[in-house]
């Protein structure tokens, strides 16, 4: 998975990118260049307000394309604006990249190889979206959710940039594989609706950070009957505390062979 290759795919005039962390210099010099060289003419970036305020201030005198070749909108919302979506649109179709990668050097490029110790361990999936498909309905809904958590000016710009007839007149049923959360529609609610009345035995998940008490694990147990969870996490950012976990949960830590390579290599916590 190479997100630079995604940015370089030709045939799309508009790009909408969302991120939590934002490195504006890296964005201008790498991501934006890749997009422009691929034929993109309109770029909208939605970033978490508090995160981006500092990074833009620190780099303000190095930025040459902000407001000229891309429009950046800071999102000030309850909690963090954490969506990481990259959408390239044309008058006929779209391609989407969704995952954990921020618009930063270590996020967008990830690692140099699986064995590499430098760079972030990120994941993403890329797919194409055609008219009259469940994926188009998903995308339409995701854009709607995004519009719901941004200000009026940003919303107008986003709606104008994504106002393609094929997307907005689509009446397909959503596949519900693409979620954009908002204070009104948190992930728990969307997952509950997605898998309503379904029960599962095991769950695998990967995360950059955790809470102390494993509330999400307790919720998954209650909502879906999850009995065993494998959580890949960053040991520096994970703060699971077995003393605080709900009754009946047990946490085991498995440092595994792969953790020897780097502090950021995933270790695993097995619980429930």
């Amino acid at each position: 998975m190479n997100l630079r290759e995604f940015a370089a795919i030709q045939g799309f005039e508009t790009a909408v990118l969302t991120t939590f962390e934002f490195d504006p210099v890296f964005f201008e010099r790498v991501v934006l260049r890749d997009l422009i060289q691929s034929g993109v003419r309109q770029v909208i970036v939605l970033v978490d307000g508090p995160q981006s305020a500092n990074s833009i201030e620190a780099a303000h005198d190095q930025l040459v394309d902000l407001g000229r070749r891309y429009q950046l909108y800071q999102v000030w919302t309850k909690g963090a604006f954490h969506a990481k979506l990259a959408i390239k649109l044309s008058a006929k179709s779209a391609i989407v990249a969704c995952g954990s990668a921020n618009l930063t050097y270590s996020g967008w490029l990830g690692v140099r190889s699986k064995e590499s110790s430098a760079g972030n361990r990120e994941v993403a999936g890329i797919w194409q979206v055609g008219p009259n498909t469940p994926q188009a309905a998903d995308l339409k809904q995701a854009l709607g959710n995004l519009a719901g958590c941004i200000g009026d000016v940003a919303r107008t710009a986003l709606e104008r940039a994504t106002s393609h007839a094929w997307l907005n007149s689509d009446s397909s049923q959503p596949e519900r594989k693409l979620f954009v959360t908002s204070p009104q529609q948190p992930l728990a609610q969307q997952l509950s609706e997605r898998w309503a009345d379904r029960r599962f035995q095991r769950m695998w998940m990967a995360t950059g950070s955790t809470d102390q008490c494993g509330a999400m694990l307790a919720w998954a147990n209650e909502q879906f009957g999850i009995q065993q969870a494998v959580v890949e996490l960053d040991p520096d950012a994970a703060i699971f505390d077995s003393a605080l976990c709900a009754a009946g949960q047990t946490l085991a830590r498995d440092q595994g062979a792969s953790t020897a390579a780097t502090a950021k290599a995933p270790s695993q916590a097995r619980g429930l």
Partner: protein, 534 residues
């Protein structure tokens, strides 16, 4: 990644991996380029990989001989022929035990001699004929064509004819054909060639023509700067008879200006080298800062550190000794940047101003910063960052609005290369009454140095999607070391130019030679006339 191959529904996520080749690059902060642009505008022709001026003559003969043999207009065939001629020359010098530094292909030639089977062929991927093509074109000896270079009527052909008189009868060269990949050569023929045509010492008519190419009596408009640059060296050699001319002498003269001792025609060159020094100083201190960060990361677990933690370490350094060595007394990193600014300004009160450049008598100047970098190999050298910024602005800040003299215009430095007007001046102006500590400022400038390195690495990525010259990975709050970094300075090419003057017998151990003196007078007259015309 092809559009047609993308799935039509969200696939399971995959790890984000961006593979890249390890690229080698010298200017990893992009700050040497502005200095070198100034140096190039002062002195074209000579490069770091063209130490032997006589190759310009030899290559002109190769082109002429190839045409005489009716070689095809085919690049590969031409360089194969040129490679054989060069191989004969190298073998001859090696066999006669007279090998100057800079001869192209000596490594392979030694292997041929060791094999006992003397044969000539193209020895290196890039033969001297290709390496010296740029200098020869700058000197208007040859001109670029798509496949086989051409010779200019004014300088190239006469040079080739003079060469023909010297080597045209030597079997080592006359037996070389256009067609074959390899040919035999006798040791005696090769030695005869080297004895008749030593690469160390251009002589006779060829030498005169090479001198006229480097310092033309009738220069093209674009050659006036070069004429002035070589005259400047000859003038300094006249004034510095007691010791050998070197780069430091040139830089010292540029810093001092020497209005009384220097003909006015050469002021522009003196100012040019001073502008080079300013940009070179900025490159050197910022490269050292990145070197310090990389050395500190090397000591951290997994070669990774939170940026703030690293910055805190930098603020705890003791730089009072460094400041004292620069003549700035009573300051530590806890002092305010306003105090540092004031103390520097008290020391470097400008005495003269010429073409927008300030000069002063105190020793706190660019060479002093270079000395301090050498004398302080540890992390405390980062304390030179704000000193260099203040010096650069004091030196060249007055002319930033004047397109003729603006260091930004002449170096091409804007935002991305830390131009003075865009980046340094607004910051340094803000330091005059700032209560911020020097330590805080240094931390910010160190971060800026790393950002500068990363920014340049990202520029490289635009051109080469699979190349990455970054030595640090940043995720916003942490830095990880991912490669070696050798801090350095910009290349002036003064060493090579001074060597050319030596090879042309215009300079020797005692300074300027009689021929050099005559040439200097001629050059000054030509320059004076050119300036009057302007």
């Amino acid at each position: 990644m092809e559009l047609a191959n993308l799935p039509s529904s969200p696939p399971p996520p995959e790890q984000v991996i961006t593979t890249w080749e390890s690229s080698r690059g010298q200017d990893l902060l992009g700050l040497r380029a502005p200095a070198e642009r100034i140096a190039n505008s002062l002195m074209d022709g000579v490069t770091t990989v063209s130490p032997l001026v006589r190759y310009c003559g030899f290559c002109s003969w190769i082109i002429s001989r190839y045409v005489e043999l009716e070689g095809p207009d085919h690049r590969e065939v031409f360089f194969r022929f040129a490679g054989k001629c060069e191989a004969a020359l190298v073998l001859g010098h090696l066999l006669s035990d007279n090998t100057p530094t800079g001869l192209v292909g000596t490594k392979e030639a030694k292997k041929i001699i060791e094999s006992g089977n003397l044969r000539i062929r193209k020895l290196v991927n890039q033969p001297a004929t290709d390496i010296y093509a740029g200098p020869s074109q700058d000197l208007a000896i040859s001109f670029a064509r798509k496949r086989v270079p051409g010779l200019s009527e004014e300088r190239g052909r006469p040079l080739a004819e003079a060469m023909q008189e010297t080597v045209g009868h030597l079997t080592a060269l006359t037996t070389i054909d256009v067609e074959s990949e390899e040919q035999e050569i006798s040791a005696s023929a090769a030695i005869e060639l080297a004895n008749q045509y030593s690469m160390r010492d251009p002589s006779g008519r060829e030498r005169e023509l090479l001198i006229d190419a480097v310092c033309p009596p009738v220069p093209l408009p674009r050659e006036l700067a070069r004429l002035s640059a070589y005259s400047y060296l000859l003038q300094l050699a006249t004034a510095n008879k007691s010791h050998t001319l070197d780069e430091d002498t040139v830089f010292r003269a540029a810093v001092e200006g020497e209005e009384d001792a220097m003909p006015s025609q050469l002021f522009g060159t003196s100012d040019g080298w001073l502008r080079f020094l300013i940009r070179d100083m900025l490159a050197a201190v910022h490269e050292r800062a990145v070197g310090v960060v990389i050395a500190m990361l090397q000591e951290c677990p997994h070669e990774t550190s939170a940026i703030e933690k690293l910055e805190k370490k930098l603020t705890e350094l003791d730089a009072s000794g460094l400041f004292k060595s620069l003549g700035i007394h009573g300051l530590s990193l806890g002092s305010t940047i306003g105090e540092l600014h004031r103390k520097i300004m008290e020391t470097v009160t400008p005495v003269t101003q010429r073409c927008g450049l300030s000069r002063w008598e105190a020793d706190l100047d660019e060479p002093a910063v270079f000395r301090a970098l050498v004398e302080n190999p540890g992390p405390e050298a980062v304390a030179l960052l704000p000193v260099a910024w203040v010096l650069a602005c004091t030196r060249a800040g007055a002319s930033l609005d004047d397109g003729r003299f603006s260091i930004d215009q002449l170096s091409g430095a804007r935002v991305a290369r830390m131009g003075l007007a865009d980046i340094l001046m607004p910051v340094v102006t803000g330091w005059t009454d700032s209560a911020e500590s020097i330590a805080q400022v240094i931390a910010r400038l160190v971060r800026r140095s790393v950002d500068q390195h990363l920014g340049i690495a990202w520029y490289h990525m635009q051109a080469d999607p699979h190349g990455n010259v970054a030595r640090i990975v940043s995720d916003g709050s942490t830095w990880t070391r991912v490669g070696e970094f050798e801090p350095g300075r910009a290349t002036s090419r003064l060493y090579q130019a001074i060597n050319w003057l030596g090879q042309l017998s215009l300079l020797d151990e005692d300074g300027i030679t009689p021929d050099g003196t005559v040439l200097l007078q001629r050059n000054l007259t030509v320059l004076e006339t050119a300036l009057e015309v302007r």
